[in-house]
Symmetry: C2
Subunit: 311 residues, 2 copies
């Protein structure tokens, strides 16, 4: 089965590991969020692409959900000694990825080509595509002004009020080579359980991608990142509220309304199923908390079996 997934970081990585265990890896294409890319110490860092890449390489730090397993942070310590900012945790081995990518981008290679190179070097058989080769940057407006996503999420630990969210650069961005084709050719398009506003939102903001999803609607299934009235992890709730979305499976369906056929959501959210049906979205109930590898694979199987029109 040809499978295309739209992915943020940590939550997506778990489902992608499950999917990669359930289908041949070479049949899996991941469209990754680059809205939270950042320049740290002069290096181009693509946190979501790397989380997905490390997860599919079997190298992700499982406890943290980001970075490499067994990582050390000696360069970070030394940067602190030099008085540089140290709120973004770049590990010593992880640095190699950013150094490699930054040099290649400076030499003029597109992010999609560099990502493919990194995947080949790390023996990732799945295809990982950045949503765009052009810069799109998620910015969050707070009472004290605009912050980049990483300033908001990592430096401020998402502990500031969010008034608005924008995707700077999105109107001028084009889908990276292969993105629209991957959506069109997929037998199933999976929207991972990622933040609808700052993980999936930037992907949707790239002109052409939402339209391609709408054309594929019957084949699009999303996994809810919300259980009950709260996000499984991260600041999705706060960000959904800032965007005027209800923090619930219904809010997720509303965010994805024009092109979502099926929503996999937690069994405890069964009461929302009727409202989803009214909105033309088929609800599939499952255990969506992926607390171990078996549950990742079990949820992946539910997703793979979930495709279908509203009953």
């Amino acid at each position: 089965m040809r499978l295309t997934a739209i992915a943020g970081g940590t939550g997506a990585a778990k489902l992608l590991r499950g999917l990669a265990a359930a289908v041949p890896r070479s049949s899996l294409t991941v469209i990754g969020n680059t809205g939270d890319d950042a320049e740290i110490w002069g290096l181009h860092v693509s946190p979501d692409l790397d989380t997905v890449m490390y997860a599919l390489a079997g190298r992700l730090d499982a406890a943290r959900g980001w970075g490499l397993a067994g990582e050390t942070f000696r360069c970070l310590e030394a940067m602190g000694d030099l008085g540089a900012e140290t709120w973004f945790n770049l590990g010593d081995r992880d640095l190699a990825t950013h150094l490699y990518r930054t040099r290649a981008l400076r030499e003029g290679r597109p992010l999609s080509a560099v990502t493919a190179e990194l995947c080949r070097r790390l023996s990732v058989a799945a295809r990982i595509l950045p949503m765009s080769d052009e810069p799109v940057r998620t910015r969050v407006r707070t009472p004290d002004g605009w912050l980049s996503f990483q300033e908001y999420f990592v430096r401020e630990k998402a502990q500031v009020q969010v008034l608005d969210v924008e995707y700077a650069g999105a109107p001028a961005a084009r889908p990276a080579p292969g993105v629209l084709e991957a959506i069109r050719a997929a037998e199933l398009v999976v929207v991972c359980p990622s933040n609808p506003v700052t993980s999936v939102g930037p992907v949707l903001a790239v002109p052409g991608i939402a339209e391609a999803l709408a054309a594929a609607r019957a084949r699009v299934v999303a996994v809810s990142p919300i259980v009950g009235g709260a996000a499984v992890s991260g600041p999705a709730g706060e960000l959904m509220r800032a965007r005027g979305l209800t923090v619930s499976a219904v809010g997720v369906a509303a965010a994805y309304a024009p092109w979502l056929a099926t929503l996999v959501m937690d069994r405890s959210d069964a009461p929302h199923a009727a409202e989803l049906a009214r909105r033309g979205v088929k609800a599939v109930l499952a255990d969506i908390l992926m607390t171990d590898r078996d549950r990742e694979i079990a949820l992946a199987r539910v997703v793979l079996d979930s495709r279908g029109p509203v009953d």
Copy 2:
């Protein structure tokens, strides 16, 4: 005593440690070679400036003579996994220096300002000045073509034949702010026991520096990097031959002829003293092998006492 030293890397670092123990550190100015600066993984690396800086910060790896004590190389390993070149050994903590410098240079700050910042952060009280803020690059011609100095020295381990040496960019370079003043104001100018061709040579190639040394001639003392007919360390012998210099204390004096008043050389080189006197250079005999800290200080004291006209 106001002291100005002209320095390469490893050999210079030892004498500078000795000098810093013998005079107030704030009275010491070091003019460092940047001819062997290199771009590695997209980072601006200044090996000689860093060796001197780490030595004066008390952080140099004593066994290797370069890099930081207690260093790890995990990023380097990961770069190898990604297929990047790994012949230049950048340590994890050392990387912070190069990241910091590279970003500052990209922001438009001159190398001299960045070097001063790094020294302040590392609590180096001596002043370290790059010879120039403009790029000067030592290149070595071999039977297979031109190599950068680091390609020759580190990648090829100095095991290829040298046909010629050039200092690309030198004619257009200007001495960094403070360099000429430091030579003029010094009560003693010390040319460290560094490679005359590829450590001191690039400094002399910057227009104005040799002239300033000539004007200070009576106050200039050099320490020979040659004992008998061979270099204490490194490829100085091969490079001197390529430049038509005899590999001996006499050859060192010839390289520095227009502005050298005094040469500190090994006791075993006493037979050369007469020839040096004939050339107008006062010879001072000493134990010049700095095999431990006591010998570094002892040699520094000889240097400090050596100033004076030919008898």
